[in-house]
Structures are given as structure tokens and as C-alpha cells.
Symmetry: C2
Subunit: 235 residues, 2 copies
């Protein structure tokens, strides 16, 4: 459904139910925005444009907000309702693996929110995104006029593991200690937000055009983290 | 703002902007639902009622959905807009630490969504909830007419760690192997969803009544997971 039809259909419904008198004599408002059945209609987005937006948004609300809001705000502008009813700030809590607890990387949590809003087969897209995330040298995004940053492979979807592996790679690269609370790590996470937002939009576009080849994860353990990292025999 | 005032104010705004003619000659719909500034208005909820609802919802959409939707649907019924515009299914992806990846416990991810929707100081509530989660013998919820389940202390906000520690405790308790994919583990996660939903509502009620004493986390590492679980000297 394109935006014109969307508005036309919205109008029909809207005129019908926008203001109604409830049974009890009170007045209730309703609109088609209250139909919250997922998935919501998706339109093709520009991955590069969204990546730049996510990079900019990182300074406003960190990683999870950057990915979720960058994609959501594009959909608010291109589709309108029902996306306009979703608060763009919902995922601000995802920063630092959820307010600094180091659990799931916030870029992934924000991406999951958007994927679930827009895809019936959200699980397939999330598996594909997570698998890409833990195997890929990141960040891939380079802001205009800046030089590329050192990259690392996280081998895990966890913030703490991903951040610390990058800090190690960056320490080697820059020849001085790069700590978790350095401005370089912050810039890395801004570029990571852009990288994950771009990849998410590529996956969404492919899925909605019937071109997605989802990654199939074999076995019980989806992450390919080495079990012995936590289950060494000395414990 | 109670529901009556909320509707009255909504009506004023609604009549003003519900149907407007856009500059380009097209017709655009808008309503007060499009004001998505957080936090949204909260009303006191019944923790026991929400716990039972989360327990029931687990069968529909697993852990993260159970906590998020149980609280959201109560707010939809008691407050109405703007909660009615949020899809209750948004957090279905959170199950098994995000579609089985074993990262953050889904009950916590769902709770974070609701906390961020309703609280300016979402970080303080999340710290308090996570700290309680990793130190408390869980699950605490017992369905009516059923016996209590074995409990375990996760010492971590991660799904994989929390589940496997419980499986070990349950294996000792029942005197037979309780696996991660057993019906007992599933029942434990349903009761865990109810336990976390109840605690979240207690925290929300306390916060909005000015009675919350938030937990302050000292040091860089918020989780009290033993570093050497992943960083043993043999690696």
C-alpha cells in the first residue's frame, strides 16, 4: 500500500470511527492507529541514508536508540501511520547492553524492535542479522571525510564482549591504550550503529522483495561463542 | 490525569486536529496519539493481577511478550490512549534471550520496554530490577493450586546463564535430569515471567508514588557476574 492509498483508506476508516459515542454516554476517540496488528506495512528504504541518520542519532541517544529511531523515523516520514504512533525514544534503555549492563548489543536490540514491527518472519531476519554481526569485521561505516576505524570480530552478540574485543584491536591499531570509556570507543559505537542500521535495512528490503536468503543456524546454541570461554574445566 | 480527564483532553485536541487539510491539498489524519513524547501517564496497577496475566500470556508468546504485554494491556484498559497505539506483540522477539540466542533474559527486556514508556528515570528502575533479578531466588510466583518450584539465583541477567543454573537446581530437586528444553523449564520461565512482571509493577507503583529507593550500582561492571567465569587464566 503506498502512502496515497494508505491515507485514503485511513481517511475512510477515520471518518467512520474517529469520534464515537460510547455505550455509557461518554465520548471515546478511536482511529485506525489503534489497529496494532503486526506486521506494519513496509516501504523500501535507502540503506546509506539510514546509516547516516543512525550515525547522527547516536549522539542523541546512543546505540539502540540510533538504530531503532533512524529506521522508524524514515518509516514515519515515508509511510506515516501507524509508525507515527510509536515513540522513537522507546529503545533509549538499550545503550551499553541495557543501561550499561553489557548484555545484548544495543544496536541489535533496536534492530530487533524494527524487524518485529515490519516482518512476520522476524526470527529468520534476526538470526541472519545476529549471525552477520558476530562474524563480520565491524564497524564498516565510515563518516564522510573521516578515515576508517580499526575493526574487530565480536564472535558474540553481547555488548561487553563486542566492546572489549574492539578495544583490544584499537589498542593495537593506535599504539596506545583505548579504554571502554574512551572517545574512540564511543565513535566506534556510533559507526557500529550506522553499520547495523544499514545492514538491517538491506535485510528488510531483501525480505520484502522476496530476495532474502536467511541464515539457518544449526544446533541448540545459536551464538558461536566458544563454550569454554565460560565453561573452562578449572571452574 | 485520570481516564475521564484524559479522554476529555483527548477530545479537545482530537476535535481540533483529527481531520485536517494538508498544504498540498491532500487530506491528512492526525490525533493526539501522535504525541509520542515519553514518559506516558501511569496509573497504579495491581501486581498480583499483572503477575497472573503474565503467567497466562507466556503460553501465547513466551517470556518477553508475557511481561511487556501483561503490563501494557493493563494500561490499555485503565488509561487507554496513548498505550492503545503500541502493539502488544512488539517484544515477541525477546524469547530465549532474543529468539533463542541466550542474551538478555526476555522477561527483563520486556520489562525495560514498559519502564521506558512510563518513567523518566528508567535507568534507575532498570538497575534496581536487574540487581533484584540476579540476586533473588527465582521464580517466586506460584500458580493457584500448584506447588512451589525449585528456585535458583542467576547471578547474571543473561538468559543462558539463568536457565542453566535453574536446570541444575531443578535436576537436584526432582532427582532426574531437567534439560533446557523440558516442560519443567518452560513452566519455570512462565513463573519467572509472572515473578518479573509483579516486581516491575511494584517498582513502577513505588516510583510513581515517590517511594522508590533505587539500588545504586558501584563500579564499572553493573552485573555481579564473576569476571573469571569468562576470563579464567587458562584462556
Amino acid at each position: 500500500m503506498d502512502r496515497r492509498n494508505f491515507l485514503k483508506n485511513g481517511l475512510k476508516v477515520g471518518l467512520g470511527v474517529a469520534v464515537g459515542v460510547a455505550a455509557g454516554g461518554g465520548i471515546a476517540l478511536a482511529s485506525r492507529g489503534e489497529n496494532t496488528n503486526l506486521p506494519y506495512p513496509y516501504v523500501k528504504l535507502d540503506p546509506e541514508r539510514v546509516a547516516q541518520r543512525a550515525y547522527n542519532y547516536y549522539r542523541k541517544g546512543h546505540c539502540a536508540y540510533a538504530v531503532f529511531a533512524a529506521i522508524l523515523d524514515e518509516l514515519k516520514e515515508k509511510v506515516g501511520e501507524p509508525y507515527t504512533y510509536i515513540p522513537s525514544e522507546l529503545y533509549v534503555y538499550g545503550k551499553g547492553g541495557i543501561v550499561g549492563w553489557g548484555t545484548v548489543c544495543g544496536t541489535l536490540n533496536g534492530a530487533c524492535g524494527i524487524i518485529t514491527l515490519t516482518c512476520k518472519d522476524y526470527g529468520k531476519l534476526i538470526d541472519t542479522l545476529f549471525s552477520w554481526y558476530e562474524k563480520t569485521e565491524l564497524p564498516t561505516f565510515v563518516p564522510k571525510g573521516k578515515v576508517a576505524y580499526p575493526k574487530s570480530v565480536s564472535n558474540s552478540p553481547l555488548c561487553h564482549v563486542s566492546v572489549m574485543k574492539w578495544c583490544k584491536a584499537a589498542t593495537n591499531h593506535f599504539g596506545r591504550h583505548i579504554a571502554y570509556n574512551s572517545k574512540e570507543r564511543s565513535e566506534r559505537c556510533a559507526r557500529l550503529s550506522a553499520s547495523v542500521a544499514r545492514k538491517t535495512v538491506e535485510l528488510l528490503n531483501d525480505y520484502h522483495e522476496g530476495r532474502l536468503v536467511p541464515v539457518k543456524i544449526k544446533g541448540f546454541q545459536k551464538t558461536k561463542m566458544d563454550c569454554m570461554e565460560c565453561h573452562s574445566k578449572t571452574r
